[in-house]
Symmetry: C3
Subunit: 365 residues, 3 copies
């Protein structure tokens, strides 16, 4: 495979390098998690998606409204207002009231009909599912959503336990997703913790890309030497390892070690802004040992791994800022990176990345 370059090309001078911008800054027609259900109570809250502020609130029936956080009248943020007793969200400046669909229901001092096309607040479709508030990235006025939010396959399944963790990385959506699915850095950046430095074992990654996802199956991988693996499978056993990226922003890591241990980590990413990504991580697992014995270790370990990644992602982001955009060079062992990049870029243009592709890559771990 040829070396591939993603992002702007470098002309090799000094000043001329400062060009470009973040790789992926908009993904229309997609569902993203904007908050936990438990975070949204009586007060409206603000969340950012691709740099745009949205206000979330619950109407009288508990249904979630997601509106552009800017009153159409005089551009005051609606999130500074309050939910009226009639379930509408009221602007704090002139008291205009909007329902969860964005329609203007009341304008103080106005004798006539309050609603009208120009007076509506831009509204986005919402779903509440699995304890998360999902918001669709294209306004409701453009029509019904063409897809449904991601489903967590083993959440609440018999025999499985779930651990949820929310963290935020100062990284682009692409970089944060790739980081979550990238094998080579684990042996170096997380050495001692997650993997050891190379044991010189040659393994194969079988890659399969379809319209909305790409999957790598790692074949020949020994049981990881790290702490997680030792807890899960003290006696070793056959390791099955899949890494998957699912559009628009799910990084999924699945391990089976022996017959009894099974762990699925869904990291659902929210592109807060060009350079900030929030991660809603849902870990579902089944294990040989009692879950109460494992559960206390999962969060601290995951957070320590994340902490090391977060430091690198932030420094990477600073450099990307400084040089004006991503200019990445990949090798074949950046197994999923180029596929993620292509899927995201196609989704940004509103296209499906057509061709299926399969590939086989060797790497040494």
């Amino acid at each position: 495979m040829e070396t591939e370059v993603e992002g702007g090309s470098s002309s090799g001078g000094l000043v001329q390098l400062r060009k470009g911008r973040a790789s992926v800054v908009n993904l229309p027609d997609q569902w993203f998690i904007l908050c936990l259900s438990s975070e949204l109570r009586k007060k409206p809250i603000v969340r950012e998606l691709f740099g745009t502020k949205l206000v979330l609130f619950r109407d009288g029936a508990g249904k979630v409204g997601a509106l552009l956080d800017r009153c159409p009248h005089r551009n005051v943020p609606l999130s500074e207002g309050a939910v009226h007793k009639d379930g509408t969200l009221q602007c704090p400046y002139h008291g205009w009231r909007f329902d969860a669909g964005g329609a203007c229901r009341f304008i103080p001092s106005l004798p006539g009909e309050p609603d009208g096309k120009a007076r509506r607040a831009l509204a986005f479709p919402t779903r509440e599912q699995d304890g998360f508030v999902w918001v669709y990235s294209t306004p409701a006025e453009k029509g019904e959503p063409s897809s449904a939010p991601h489903v967590f396959a083993y959440k609440d399944k018999p025999g499985y336990s779930t651990v949820t963790q929310v963290v935020e990385a100062k990284g682009t959506l692409y970089s944060t997703i790739e980081n979550a699915l990238d094998v080579p850095h684990t042996a170096f950046l997380h050495r001692g913790l997650f993997r050891s430095e190379s044991r010189g074992i040659s393994i194969t990654a079988k890659v399969h890309r379809t319209k909305d996802r790409v999957e790598a199956e790692y074949v020949g991988e020994p049981r990881p030497p790290g702490a997680i693996a030792r807890i899960l499978s003290p006696s070793g056993g056959i390791v099955t390892h899949f890494d998957r990226f699912i559009l628009p922003s799910v990084a999924q890591v699945e391990y089976r070690i022996g017959t009894e241990n099974h762990i699925l980590v869904d990291s659902v990413m929210t592109p807060v802004s060009d350079y900030v990504t929030r991660i809603y991580a849902v870990v579902t697992f089944r294990a040989r040992v009692p879950h109460w014995a494992i559960q206390p270790f999962i969060k601290p370990l995951a957070l320590k791994v994340f902490q090391q990644d977060a430091v690198i992602l932030e420094k990477q982001t600073e450099t990307i800022h400084r040089f004006g955009g991503e200019q990445f060079v990949s090798t074949e062992i950046d197994v999923l990176g180029r596929h993620i990049w292509r899927l995201l870029r196609a989704a940004e243009r509103g296209e499906k990345h057509g061709a299926e592709e399969t590939d086989e890559v060797s790497l040494v771990v």
Copy 2:
């Protein structure tokens, strides 16, 4: 009346909304207050107008000079220098000296004539009037001012008292002016303080726009229920209420309650920068009760009202910044807004907004 939209149009996407800029960022050939007379003593001071720094100083005769705060020689701010004993302003770097007209009068070490066209500091016409230093927004080299500063009609008139207050809002010039003249928000934002929430009384606003101003006369308005009105007219009485915008930046509110009470508030706005407006408020009043009994209440009450407005204007400004410009939707009860907008935009282009216009609007207070 159709709903009107001022500012950039929204395409309805997420990222695409970030466009545009502040509505009014330059008003040539107009007078603005840059400081109080009492603020300008022996030391030069800096003031900003439409984002441009000017240095103000008094020459030997006490006349105010207003120069671009940038030495033409090496661009050091002249405001960091001092007024020389000959009444010129001297640059702190090489000691060049400029008179109030901007002419270069002395260059240390230079054997020949100091003055020359390119060596002049850009000077702006000034007037000192009513205790304020007014500066013209077009350089003196373009010719004599075509207008005179605003006159305060009742200042120092027999029977009238005056209260002056200077405040600064983080708002655009347009938003700050409209806020000062907007009736509907008073019942909502200032409820309890200035007006009550709607009493369901229908009133009429008669609007009259000419080349340099727009006036609304409110007909059928009851005595305001708030504290100000109760102090002024305990027994009620016929209320006459005019709101006026006068180019370039005067918001004028006039109330007569009964025959004895008369209050005129001139809020003269200085566009400090695109998103900061300073307000020189001059309250002149005549009243039934002794002025010494009213005077102590005016400032605290006005400041409380202003404080509530300032919070909203700042949040509005943040939203305008974030979304890249103003995108306002108006209804007929935004009585003066669209007229102010048109007058300002015409003035920005150096035109007179030609057509006279009259209008009648119903609103419920």
Copy 3:
């Protein structure tokens, strides 16, 4: 001589002035000092040149590598990594290793050859000379340097002593160089310290510009009245004074007072970014009095002079920022300014400023 204007032209309005940018923002094919030899030990360090971050490190043989501070793989700053025991610089994310020439020598987990054109880190030629690390401003891949770093003529010469001082100014490269060579401001800004205010003595500056430098010889100059001169030459004596600018960024001041005293100050400027310049000042001197008696006075005096200049340069920079670029007006007593400007601008375009020029200017000191 006509008054000359450097930089953007002013249209005289208010808002319209905000244009342009720093005068000189790139000088290709030139040597600059990036650090002292003593600053670069086992850890890599970061230095900025024209706003671009470079990482400096020593390889196994002690040779200095200067690479663009951005790993070609995933854009993490290489300066956050460490020098490996094999003398390569290792990225902290995936562990890629680069030699001083920028070649990629190792990629963890990759079975095949690590190096490849796209995988190289952009490398810049380096020289270590006179205790300084010099870096060439054009990448090594463009070919061998066409010049050599500046030589300090009297450093380590018999009878001479050397004092070195590093300071940083918030000024553009042009402004900082001109400041170091500008005579008129010394009598005003540094009055009492360095020169007295004018003694009314007329002197002549003989200017001679060639392809890569411009020199002014001051004829008829009395012994400076300041502290430095009194220490050097208590009995007076003939004063010889040369000021020189040598491309790309050397400001050189040379004084001979009488036959025994000789001082040469080389201020080698590093354009850190558009508005920050670092000055590596090397003072070499020979004097009548014992050097141990002079040496303690040189640094404090020079730093006091520099402090006054630094304040002015910072204020100048703020103004240039605010007004969007330099707009300088010069007179004939800005003896070297316009020549420095032309030499820098020609060098920025990669040209030699062809014509020789000589000039004679009178000024009063």
